[in-house]
Amino acid sequence: MSAERATGASGVADRVIDVALMAISFAMLTPLAFLVSNAFKTPAELLAWPPTLIPDAPTLDNLRAVIRETPLFRWIFNTIAFATLSTAAIVTTSAVAGYVLAKFRLPGFGLIFGTILATAIIPFEVYMIPLYLGVQAAGLLNTLWGLLIAYLVMSFGIFLIRQYAMTSIPDELIEAARVDGAGEWWIFLRVALPLMRGPLGALGVLAFFQAWTAFAWPLVVAAKTEAQVIEVGLALFQTGFTVELGRLSAAAAVALVPSVVFFAVMRRNFVRGVAASGMKE
């Protein structure tokens, strides 16, 4: 069955929608267009006013300087490794906990869910100090484990999966499987997970980018430059007084490339939705 529903609505309406979405998409991208454009500007042109969207005298100096003077690719590699592991951990923990909390009603589960959600409310920076002291006591500073430890679970991830599981996995389906003698793990892995493919893909994207943009924690836990992640690496271009805007933009633009590629690849995973997941009437 085609993902496109043949509604019989006129093509005109679709064209109007396309124009509107196109305009909004471009509006969303405008600040980023400036960012990419800044990456190719000379220091003089960066100061020029009004700012130009297309550089008058495009230069590769910023890019070259960034690649020559900083371990940019090393940072990107570190970040990909860190983000991949964090994503795997978060998707696993969220899938399990989200499913259980959505589909099993046991006394205390409401409290557990409420507590998990409440932990998301406190900004990470606030409880970073005790967590840091814990990681330090465990001797995990400057290790991947130390970095990862704050990113093994995601309150919003459990919440997200729970919310989807409530509607996307019909209770009758689980019940029928039990009647057929299926074990609970089997039901979780073979019935629930396939139905949650879209949400899990979306969660994967969110978890990946949460790690990708992590800053406060890697800064203090992985304090060594070559062990750093991209977001902290980018911060090295700033000082209290001046910003190396050209280089900062060049580095940020390079870092955007894997982000966009990753999103495009992952997107294919979760756009199919229920129609493609094998569940039909």
């Binding site: 220091p43 100061l47 592991l85 795997a88 484990w145 800064l219 007084f241 569940m279």
Partner: protein, 439 residues
Amino acid sequence: MSARDAFAPPPGPSATRRRALCAALAATLMAAPLPALAQQKLTLWSGWTELKPFYERVAAQFKKKHPDVDISVEVIALREHEKRIALAMPSGAAADIIEMQVEYGRYAEAGLLPPANAAATAFVSDPKHFDKFVQDAVSVSGKVYGVPLFRGQTVLFYNTDMFAKAGLSGPPKTMEDYTTYAEKLTQRDSAGKPTVSGWSLRLSGGGMGIAEKFWINMHQYGGAVVREKNGKWFADYANEAGRKTLKQYLDNVIVKKTVSPEMKADAEAFSLGQTAMFIRESWVIGDIAKKAPGLPYATAPLPKGSIVIPVGLYVPTKDAKKAALAWDYTLMANEPENLVWLLDNVGWLPNRKDVDYSGVIKAKPAFEAFVNYPKDHSFFTLPFITPVSEVLTRLAARLEKGYLDPALAGNDAAIDAFLKAAADETNTILKREGFYGAP
């Protein structure tokens, strides 16, 4: 609806394989910790990105002397630098060499920062090398804890073309001059709105900077945000000096409109030719050379004196062998040849005085005002008491509103009440932290 259909799609073997692959990958990565500190590797933390080339230059020389030792220079924005120090110092996870301003005092007093070794202490204590002011700025109760490196000190930067066009032959001499000059220098559009500010004042921004600049101006009138007496501190600005300073801001912003908060400000405005003068540290010289090399400008000392923020290098490492190497590095950074390079290439002022900087000053006369100031020039620094940043941040929040308050302009009584309320708050903070002493 048949539930059985839902079980139909068998799990793809590829999915299982992929999962196994991921697990293997994860195991491999986990097993390999991030490169651990090698035996002979020293780490240096700094909060000024522009100093990175300097530290690396010294590191290269250090490597020649100690071929088996690597120095890793890790620089990040000052705000983040402060954060990592605050977290790492108590847990003993700080770098081997760190750069600090006045906050070294709190770590030294808490026993988290060991004093300098004999060689460094001897070097710093030698009156040939440093003024007493500088020595005190790395010491606690007479004991040396670090090696001074450079300092932030302020002068007036002024655009000589704009001065000439306004018929002004030299820099303003008194604080009263600053306002009259600013009036003459302001360029306006047909509606009378300023397009080029006569004197760029710090009117907004993030946090304590506003109060720090206020203090610099107030110092010219003899006031201080906090003043020491017998080891205790009190607010010293609800007085004539404070009133004159605030009044000058209000005069310029509200009465004479020589500057407005939405105009570009500070070094950026100066580079762009959007302000005629402003007060700032020596790094601006290097910045202008990079961004607006053709800008016609000169510098002049402030009427009475300047803030001095000394920055030094400290060695928190407990490992004796590493510490000895680290102190050696801090002394190497203070070699005359390196300090001349620092002044010439970065623009921050080195503290060591028995070094011949004349070559650089001759080539870049803008440095003149930083080193050749009048005999009676007076300096002040931010006290190294814990509540100082809170005092300045809260004062800044009040000033930011006050500068734009028309009710204060021209109303001495209102200004006095404003300052009184702010000073009371300052004293309350000092009392709470146990630093208050009545004047």
